[in-house]
Subunit: 566 residues, 2 copies
């Protein structure tokens, strides 16, 4: 790939890297400005931050885009022209998007916008934008992507991980994909052949350590393997396959973090084999992302704990044998009053269930009909005097009031999996869009040869590749002690990208894309859940990402006694 | 409303107008550059245009945004702070968006980007962006919109139009809204009480002249009345009410344009009363937006015309008594070989039908299951030796080969109606989002008081108001001979805005927004059809809008023998 000023790909790469560094300086300045305005004695004040929600939101997105661009420009080089092209196109589109966001933030904070103008319209930045993001360049990349869809967003996986992914790819292709449309259209429950297949392949043991009956060996391959399996299954069906592993992961982490030895010994091997299917009940009807205000009560009696209250959006609660329930056991308000219970119940098929205990308590469930993400069903749950033995309080006495922290242990993995789910859905939509435009003729020429089609495919491919590559890169960082905030970043980026990619894939299909018989219509409605659940994007942006940015900025400034970068 | 440099609203308005003029100069230069590069002897060449599809697409969007912004800054002033604020916020966001698009176009065409930089970072432009689009300003407008949703996007309607809208508002509220969720969720056919109510209110006569039994009096109120009724009904249900008037409009225009006196006399009064329900069959399985390549054959026999072939996406074909079918009667390729037939058939309920003629021919239909836009059902149709009497060829002998032109006569109204449908869906989603955020508390404070919520509501309100106001403004222009391309512009803008507004309304609802029981989930899937049908956005952008811009630029240049603006 030659550029218009004669420099080869490596010189171009160096120039893009430099542009990203220049963008970062402007970004850091905005982060620092808000951190200072919203802190007292180097501590953030929520009341002050509330006046900068919109800017914090922009900065979180800017940070996610920047991280993705940075990784693409510093990650492994495949030597493939398509790959290199998509990397750099994405990076310069991200740089532009970040500058637009910063322009808003600078205006909000009252900072001088001139440095943004100087960078945005510098000769260096403008020529990169022209070389890498002009329509004819995107069209060329789009045409390459259409010719070789298998080369889009490739990541070099460890041979062990690649082997696992291959196995699940066959399973997804042979068992899941043929059923996916019917499960969605008829709102069926995940069929047993999918569950038994996953059990026999050890899918449920991926996040459980070897000494507890799982296959996680503590190596840096554990998380990438989970992502690889999740995206492969999500490519075939988000609701009936790709999302089956999120719940065991969250519960396993909570047990590993806080469970007694007996609890771990009893439950983990059963979860790993799939003998015990599980669900997680956190959200309540009046408290979505606001865990500190949960109200479901657990009351101690001589027979054990009595649970009373409601939960909602408890996915897979019907089929599950075991539900991890976050309940308020202590009188303290906020996080400190919460504990975790292992609620076992019979497995039910269908959309409603009622389980009555001999002691007189009961638990009822009703699947909430949703526009997509069907198969596992998400339930409203009602607990009434539901008795849970003492032995089922995670961590026993020591676990009282620790429920929030044990739950959080699994959230990082849950968010990474959600990014992988988004990657799988995007891959499916992109693959179908490419197949469709190759097949279809419009105004006398193949749709695939229209410049606008090629540009759209290029943008979709770049988004998919960026999100996927960042997810794997972060999974490696997290395996070696990286900042868990990165999981929120990847989740944010990948889920919105999935909305964009599925929307455009549908648009490229024309009317057919709106028909339920066309798989891309399912991907579109499935993708829509991703930015809502497992941490709504507003919550991640405001409560996790921007907060973490401000805190880093303040502590760096504090450490050096002078302004510095986050 | 005071601005930071002390000038009042009228001075601010004058400055925004000036900014828009400055943007227009940059826009016109790009249009002219592509028009020149893609023409020979002042005539556009398709083969040359194909290399600028992406830029043409950007210019079409830029044009739509600019028209909306221009109208908001030159339309009637309500004197209301919310209204004025949303107008100016939209205008400056649009100005920014247009500059970003132009930056891409200039890069593509090889134009010097410096004029864009000079404008974008001029003191004047930057202070307007800060005064009008900064988060705290948007939050203020958002809070006002939350307090007074009834004031968002208000248009001064002629008293006659307002009276009609009031009547339909009550009907929509009392008859349509209570059934809307069930019709969608159970994929029911539009129920008879909705149809009979609309008949008795004269809805089907809105686009039919008084002398043919309708209520259109040829005044400039005809089109606004149609929009008002359409948006009001779409607010309650897109699929079961708001879309019922599009088909009669298209057929009535075709008949008025080309029908024989006998055809007009027979059909128009029956259509106006609703005694005859109708459908339009244009699209074929292999030809979406590409009308010139339609293949359904009509073959002349002594008994009449025999129709053979397939149509798809024929909405309401089941219930309809009369289908307008575009068929190839002539040997000429392209538009010239097409004619229109009035195919009458029995009305069927349900999702499938088969009509056998005594002569041995038949017409079968199957409703295509779709993710939204349910109620009327869109059908695949198969004609086999289906006999249509000579008298049912629109225009009789004179109509042979004129089918395309007669169809086009109704497209302008169809696109305007589609913009109104988008406005109705947006209004419903925005209203529900506002009600929800007022009701819901998150992290201890009402969701409505969060800055990010207010900013999002402001953006949604501004998009809705801009699209709605532009639609009405264009409807007045069209009534007095405006350029029909404007209908495509409004359709493009309003339909994409509806996707954005419904998406964000859903996001503000959190998990509930994904539940089928929450109306906003229906608005989201309904909105998705709007950018696909009645002229897909790519087709409108490339084949109608940008083409028209280039042609105007060339003819203006030709007229003055020097470069000028479109």
């Amino acid at each position: 790939m030659k550029t218009e000023n004669g420099s080869g790909p490596s010189a171009q790469l160096a120039r893009v890297r430099q542009s990203l560094e220049n963008v970062k300086v402007l970004f850091d300045a905005a982060v620092m400005a808000i951190a200072r305005q919203c802190s007292e004695h180097a501590r953030l004040k929520n009341t002050l931050l509330d006046a900068y929600q919109a800017s914090s939101y922009e900065l979180a997105w800017a940070c996610a885009e920047w991280q993705a661009a940075y990784h693409l420009c510093h990650g492994p080089d495949s030597g493939q022209a398509l790959d290199q092209g998509l990397n750099l196109t994405y990076a310069m589109d991200a740089a532009q998007s970040i500058l637009t966001r910063l322009e808003r933030v600078y205006a909000d904070v009252g900072m001088d916008p001139e440095p943004i103008a100087i960078l945005a319209y510098s000769q260096a930045f403008q020529s990169l934008r022209r070389e890498l993001c002009a329509a004819h360049q995107k069209a060329k990349l789009g045409a390459m992507a259409i010719d070789h869809p298998e080369k889009i967003g490739r990541v070099e996986l460890h041979p062990d991980v690649a082997m696992i992914q291959d196995a699940f790819q066959r399973f997804a292709q042979d068992v899941v994909r043929p059923q996916a449309t019917q499960i969605h259209r008829k709102d069926l429950t995940v069929p047993d052949d999918i569950l038994s297949g996953m059990c026999s392949m050890g899918a449920f043991g991926l996040s459980i350590p070897e000494n507890h009956g799982g296959s996680a060996d503590g190596s840096p391959n554990d998380l990438p393997a989970m992502l690889a399996v999740t995206e492969t299954l999500s490519d075939a069906s988000l609701g009936a396959a790709g999302s089956l592993l999120t719940r065991p992961e969250i519960l396993a982490r909570a047990l590993l973090e806080g469970g007694t030895q007996a609890q771990k010994d009893h439950w983990l091997p059963r979860m790993a084999s799939g003998e015990v299917l599980c669900a997680i009940a956190i959200t309540e009807p009046d408290h979505g992302s606001d865990v500190a205000r949960l109200t479901l009560k657990a009351h101690r009696t001589p027979q054990g704990w009595l649970l009373n209250g409601a939960k909602t959006w408890c996915t897979f609660a019907g089929k599950a044998h075991l539900i991890m329930v976050v309940a308020r056991t202590e009188s303290q308000p906020g996080y400190q009053g919460l504990s975790l219970f292992l609620v076992d119940k019979p497995s039910f098929d269908g959309h409603e269930f009622m389980h009555r205990q001999p002691s007189g308590g009961h638990l009822s469930g009703r699947a909430i009909p949703t526009i997509g993400y069907r198969g596992m069903h998400s339930f409203d749950l009602h607990f009434e005097d539901y008795l849970v033995p003492d032995s089922q309080l995670i961590g026993a006495e020591k676990g009282r009031g620790r429920g929030f922290y044990y739950t959080m242990a699994g959230m990082t993995g849950g968010r990474m999996q959600t990014a992988a789910r988004a990657a799988g859905v995007m891959h499916a939509a992109l693959t179908e869009a490419i197949a469709y435009v190759k097949d279809r003729t419009l105004f006398g020429t193949p749709l695939a040869s229209h410049q606008l089609t090629q540009v759209k495919i290029c943008d979709m491919a770049a988004l998919y590749a960026a999100a996927r590559k960042l997810a794997y890169a972060v999974s490696h960082q997290l395996s070696t002690g990286g900042n868990p905030m990165q999981a929120s970043l990847v989740k944010l980026l990948a889920c919105r990208a999935a909305e964009h990619v599925t929307r455009d894939a549908q648009q490229l299909h024309g009317g057919l894309g709106y028909a339920e018989e066309t798989a891309v219509s399912r991907h579109f409605v499935d993708a829509r859940v991703l930015s809502i659940f497992e941490g709504a994007e507003e919550t991640l942006a405001l409560k996790v990402i921007s907060r973490s940015l401000y805190e880093s900025a303040l502590s760096a400034a504090d450490a050096t006694h002078q302004p510095t970068t986050a």
